[in-house]
């Protein structure tokens, strides 16, 4: 499964993505969770107290003279799988976690270098073994500037508000506009009343593959910087993410 969550800031991407990763890992699948959002969020919803999980400088080197490809790459002998084994932080249920772009630990040149290595990892990690789940930056500016390209399925998280719906329409245009073949689906979040899901489908023109109800437990988990799946494993929202995992696994589309 190669999946990326996008959507307007604050719609619940990280909470859903983190829970999604944990559910998938509990079923025995190896999961790499990648956060390319400069703000923390995914780490907490995975159940990690940290928010930094960068690739160290030593993992990256400049391409040798005469060698093809991007300017920087993983150091010689280090495969994408090795890099995950060695550097990704292990979250509960065995989810592996890598974060790109936290400026506290990496700035300037180091950040620039590691960007190449991150992309290389998402490109080269063996598909038959690893599921890659990405939590992409909010808004419309950044998600598809290189980062979204590993994903075969883009899930646009939408809450039933005018701004989120408009953002989803923009994102869906950007996602479908590119040459990369991928499927774009909506996940309706913070669903409160009859008609919300229909509105999401109508106003985005997307198939709604997941329906997550409004759930105070998610807001509470966020406030406490805890994983929803640990704090409220039986909450309607967590159950809804379980259904979403099931749905995508069954369809074998991601």
């Amino acid at each position: 499964m190669r999946l990326a969550f996008v959507g307007k800031g604050g719609v619940g991407k990280s909470a859903i993505a983190g829970t999604f990763c944990r559910v998938l890992a509990r079923q025995g699948h190896p999961v790499l969770a990648i956060d390319s959002d400069p703000l923390p969020g995914l780490a907490y919803s995975l159940g990690l107290a940290i928010s930094d999980a960068p690739l160290p400088d030593e993992a990256v080197e400049e391409r040798a003279e005469g060698e093809d490809g991007p300017r920087y790459r993983l150091r010689t002998g280090l495969t994408a799988g090795d890099a995950v084994d060695r550097y990704a932080v292990t979250a509960p249920d065995g989810v592996r976690f890598l974060q790109f772009g936290k400026h506290r630990s990496q700035t300037g040149r180091g950040l620039f270098r590691s960007q190449f290595a991150f992309r290389q990892i998402t490109r080269e990690l063996p598909e038959d073994r690893w599921n890659i789940i990405g939590d992409l930056p909010g808004g419309t500016r950044q998600p598809f500037t290189g980062w979204g390209n590993f994903a075969r399925t883009i899930l646009i998280v939408v809450e039933p508000t005018a701004k989120s719906l408009l953002t989803a329409r923009r994102l869906s245009r950007l996602a479908l506009d590119e040459e990369h073949p991928r499927r774009v689906l909506a996940v309706a979040n913070k669903v409160r009343e009859d008609g919300d899901v229909e509105m999401v489908a109508d106003r985005t023109g997307l198939e709604v593959i997941g329906i997550v109800p409004w759930d105070e437990a998610l807001a509470e988990a966020e406030q406490k910087m805890a994983a929803p799946i640990d704090m409220a494993p039986d909450s309607p929202a967590v159950k809804a993410v379980e259904s979403l995992v099931e749905q995508l696994s069954e369809e074998r589309i991601a």
Binding site: G10, G139, P143, N149, K163, L166
Partner: protein
Amino acid sequence: MRVAVVGKGGSGKTTTSAVVARTLARHGASVVALDCDSNPNLGLSLGVGDFETERLESMRESLDEGGEEHAPGWDDLIERFGSDAPDGVRLAVVSRIDNPSPG
């Protein structure tokens, strides 16, 4: 008065900006509301509606695509890329909208 509103996604920047703009306008100030967000939704919060918000966005995009000429000054910019919102607020979309490059 020149105010910029910033914050994390979903924290209420756009809503706050719109309420401040309209409240100032109601108190008699002449207000220009600039949407500098690459995901420009300020029109929705000011109350100009979905259609007009998307129209302003595509105006702004057509500038990048060469379909519109740059406004030579602020007055022109606000005239050409703007729209009248309730309470006399003038809204203009001036954000940088990146069209992501493949690859």
